[in-house]
């Protein structure tokens, strides 16, 4: 099954670090999530990485078996 991964404060908002979801287009998957969480995930400053590579647009992205889609809020590290 594909997984969504939530980094930084998104983990707190989601209440979990990872979520296993059904395969399918990302837009459809997000529509099944809690609305408040979905709004945070779609925030302008949140970046996305599919299997460890940044993607600039989720349009047309379909998650398949074993895919990992990470949501990366602004970094504040080091």
């Amino acid at each position: 099954m594909p997984r969504l991964v939530f980094l930084g404060k998104l983990e707190d908002i989601a209440g979990t670090a990872e979520l296993t979801v059904a395969p399918g287009p990302v837009e459809q998957i997000l529509a099944t999530l809690d609305r408040a969480l979905a709004i945070e995930l779609l925030g302008e400053k949140v970046r996305m990485a599919l299997n460890g590579s940044l993607i600039t647009d989720m349009g047309g992205v379909t998650l398949r078996e074993g895919d990992e889609l990470a949501f990366l809020p602004p970094v504040s590290g080091g």
């Binding site: 991964v5 980094l7 930084g8 983990e11 990485a49 970094v75 504040s76 080091g78």
Partner: protein
């Protein structure tokens, strides 16, 4: 040539001793050690990373740093996990024939580690844990290199 690591523990003196021994005939070695500051009521901080991206990003930063300045050697070690005031967080060391190259490379690597590496920081005070937002200075620091 670069030694880049993401660790749960960091012994800065042992790392610096090994680095200095390895580059004993480089003209100059600059090291930066970042530590958990005391103050502001911070009891602990936690740095979280993202396995598939954080270390690859640090390795890429090391590669770019070495392309930009002629270095004999470069070390980047960054911790993740829970840390307390006085604990080391990050160590960068750059060895070069010429002093200015070592200074610039360590400075550049630190600015980019702080602002572009995939780490998320939260701090614990008496009121609990709080996620830290990026600071405007981080962005300004990066602009210096553009």
């Amino acid at each position: 040539m670069a030694d880049v690591r993401l660790e749960t523990a960091l012994d800065p003196v042992a790392e610096i001793a090994a680095f200095n021994a390895r580059y004993a005939t480089s003209g100059g070695i600059v090291t930066f050690l970042g530590q958990v500051r005391e103050g502001g009521g911070v009891e602990a901080l936690e740095l979280k990373h993202y396995g598939p991206m954080t270390l690859p990003g640090m390795t890429d930063l090391a590669r770019i740093t070495q392309l930009r300045w002629p270095l004999d050697g470069l070390l980047i070690v960054h911790r993740h996990g829970v840390m307390h005031p006085g604990d080391p967080i990050v160590l960068v060391a750059a060895a070069a024939r010429h002093r200015r190259d070592a200074f610039a490379a360590a400075d550049f690597a630190m600015d980019h580690l702080k602002s572009e590496s995939w780490f998320w920081k939260r701090e614990k005070t008496a009121t609990g844990w709080r996620w830290i937002e990026p600071r405007p200075e981080d962005h300004e620091d990066l602009e210096r290199w553009r």
